[in-house]
Subunit: 414 residues, 2 copies
């Protein structure tokens, strides 16, 4: 790594967001092209970056010298000699992607081409606090590195999606409701103590899922789309002009507390009729339990009996699949209200794609159908002309794919 | 203009968006820096673009040779010799900015530094169609050029804000409700027939006003903000990460038909309770007239008498200023409902600034106060921590300033 600027020292200001490698613009642009478009020839890189063929040749030779890039055989000829194709070297370094939920986390280790080497699903209780959970993460990564005979110094980036509000630049959670003990904790400093060359990028879980769909999923062909997670709460990741839109304070996409019904129930936030107080997992389950108490559904009663008087949104989905009309009505109402709120956002933002994910998104096709109807009923025809609305096909993998993309995109350029 | 690519011929595909000059990346970046930041030294340009001092020197010498850029005296010294400051040459070329409304248009002619040379306010009836209005525009520009002894070939760009939906890339209006006869009309071709070197950039009027605030107004220090125009209809221009967000189909910001009240009146679009059917100028006037008919306001009755039984939102503002409680209530209700809808958009988009403009925005301070209350009541604290909500200080000038900016930004780079 002769001419690359060495990583900043860990002991001092390690919570500042800083890429492990500082590059000149032509180097950075070349690597960004390879990251975004995969393997390319020198001519393709020159065309795409706007730099001269001579500049790109110098850059590529240097990147090959220091081991980031390699030639991997011949591309397609345009008539003349077949051009050599350039690619990231898989073993230049390693990346960690983490999708953290309240009760579990998924951790993947990948090489520099993004190939996933290991995948761990670990049960946690996020309320145990930052040190406890980060220790679990650190030990898991160290174990996987040891098995593969990779030094901790070869890990260059962690991408971490967390279920709470994040100060993206500081790499910290800010007053997270379900993560006490994480508020303002310097995650970056903790990571650097064990992985001295690694930058840690922390972002909200929904933003990370949207990024996963953008880089590796249904979002690849879209520049403006929404990833809407429906689970215990409701949130949206916004891709605007091909990048995550975080807003002025990092709170963009916080749609769970949009007023969906002025005569609705009181939300835990204190306001009336918030979307997530009406349509997320808990109110779906609560309405089902109410139906059981009022003897309106024998199928839901059966599920409540099995679980000792508890119900989840998933149970409601199962009851609906068995033909229970009450369960169907609950799911339909939830989807319709989500669709009505999304209709406003479609008029405002004019996305070309809305992906529905999260634990509740799998409760049945009538959920998606009701969301679609709610959106199309209240949106302008011009705004929905090319709008696709789908359940996220990546599902649970969107989080880890997005976390890896977040890591990869911050190794060289911040 | 030796090495600049000449403008595309007008007779063939002139409706395609194409900059008059095609530049190499270092030239384009240098000019973009001068456009965004005003006068700069060579060192500042090198630092800001990331190109070497040697590259920038070559670029600047070339731009001086061909007459785009000039040296304008000394900048501030950093200890050594005082650096020469570079600037656009005012007389390199000329730009036209047009802010078109339904019944009037503002037309400004500016030099290459953006200095406005002439300003015409012309009464029109936009329903006369594209050819009639474009002929008025053409003749006005030709007259002003003749007075200043400038050839039509020296006009390099028209920026035009229009009150209707636009296909930005095609430079055409698409099924505009209040502009029949403009649908799909090739405005660019019309302009090129008289101004062979000019590109014409057409955009929605609210987008153009937002751009005006971004470049020359209250938006200069904000990267994510909304310009909300309240007039006959209600629309928003969205600045996202420092650029206009037009969305997948160019319809982003069309917030007038967001549902503000499920039990509200039927809108002309056929839906129930659209924001603009409740809170724009016409419903404000209609409620006031109703109060007159029901003998509930002597002050409003006085205004209605003067105008022969007609009232506008401006009259309601005047009555409120005289202390009329009914007028105050109408204005307050309108502001509150606009604020409630904006609260949802604040949660979603997390802007740092909302500017209220358009004809209705001047009807009194209680209008802004009610909008503010509506927003703050229903938004998340994190999203409003740094949120400013103001009446647009540029007012009617935002449109022409934005139209000039639109023109300037498309002369060199599309």
């Amino acid at each position: 790594l002769r001419t690359l600027t060495p990583p900043a020292p860990a002991q001092n200001g390690a919570h500042v967001l800083r890429a492990p490698f500082q590059l000149e613009p032509p180097q950075a642009k070349t690597l960004a092209m390879l990251r975004q478009h995969g393997d390319l020839s020198r001519t393709e890189i020159a065309d795409a970056t706007g730099y001269s063929r001579a500049t790109i040749t110098t850059v590529i030779n240097h990147l090959i010298d220091i081991g980031i890039v390699e030639e991997i055989g011949d591309g397609i000829s345009n008539g003349g000699r077949r051009p050599r194709v350039l690619s990231f070297r898989a073993d230049f370094g390693y990346l960690v992607g983490i999708d953290m939920g309240a009760t579990s986390l998924d951790l993947v280790l990948a090489d520099f081409k993004g190939t996933i080497l290991t995948h761990d699903a670990i049960e946690i209780d996020v309320r145990q606090g930052a040190v406890a959970i980060l220790t679990v993460i650190r030990d898991c990564v160290l174990a996987r590195l040891r098995e593969a005979n990779i030094a901790a110094e070869r890990v260059y980036a962690f991408g971490i999606g967390v279920p709470g509000p994040v100060d993206f630049n500081a790499g910290m959670l800010i007053a997270p409701p379900i993560m006490p003990g994480w508020d303002g904790y310097p995650i970056r400093t903790f990571i650097r103590e064990t992985f001295p060359n690694a930058v840690a990028i922390i972002d909200n879980d929904v933003n990370v899922m949207a990024l996963g769909e953008l880089r590796a999923g249904a979002g690849r062909t879209h520049k403006n789309f929404l990833f809407v997670k429906v689970g215990t709460g409701i949130g949206a990741g916004i891709i605007c002009n091909g990048v995550i839109h975080r807003g002025a304070d990092g709170s963009a996409g916080d749609i769970g507390h949009i007023c969906a019904d002025k005569n609705g129930p009181t939300c835990h936030c204190g306001n009336i009729g918030c979307l997530e107080a009406i349509a997320a997992g808990p109110p779906i389950a609560a309405r089902a339990l109410e139906a059981v108490r009022e003897n309106r559904s024998s199928i839901l009663a059966k599920y409540a009996q099995v679980t000792g008087g508890k119900l989840t949104a998933i149970d409601v989905g199962r009851a609906a699949a068995e033909g229970d009309p009450i369960a169907n009505e609950i799911i339909h109402d939830s989807g319709r209200i989500i669709g009505e709120v999304l209709a406003s956002l479609v008029n405002f933002f004019n996305p070309s794609l809305i992906l529905i994910g999260g634990g509740v998104s799998g409760i049945g096709h009538q959920f998606l159908a009701a969301i679609r109807r709610g959106i199309l009923h209240r949106s302008l025809p011009l705004a929905t002309r090319h709008l696709r609305i789908d359940i996220s096909p990546m599902g649970a993998n969107a989080g880890t794919a997005g976390a890896l993309a977040l890591a990869m995109e911050h190794v060289f350029v911040v």
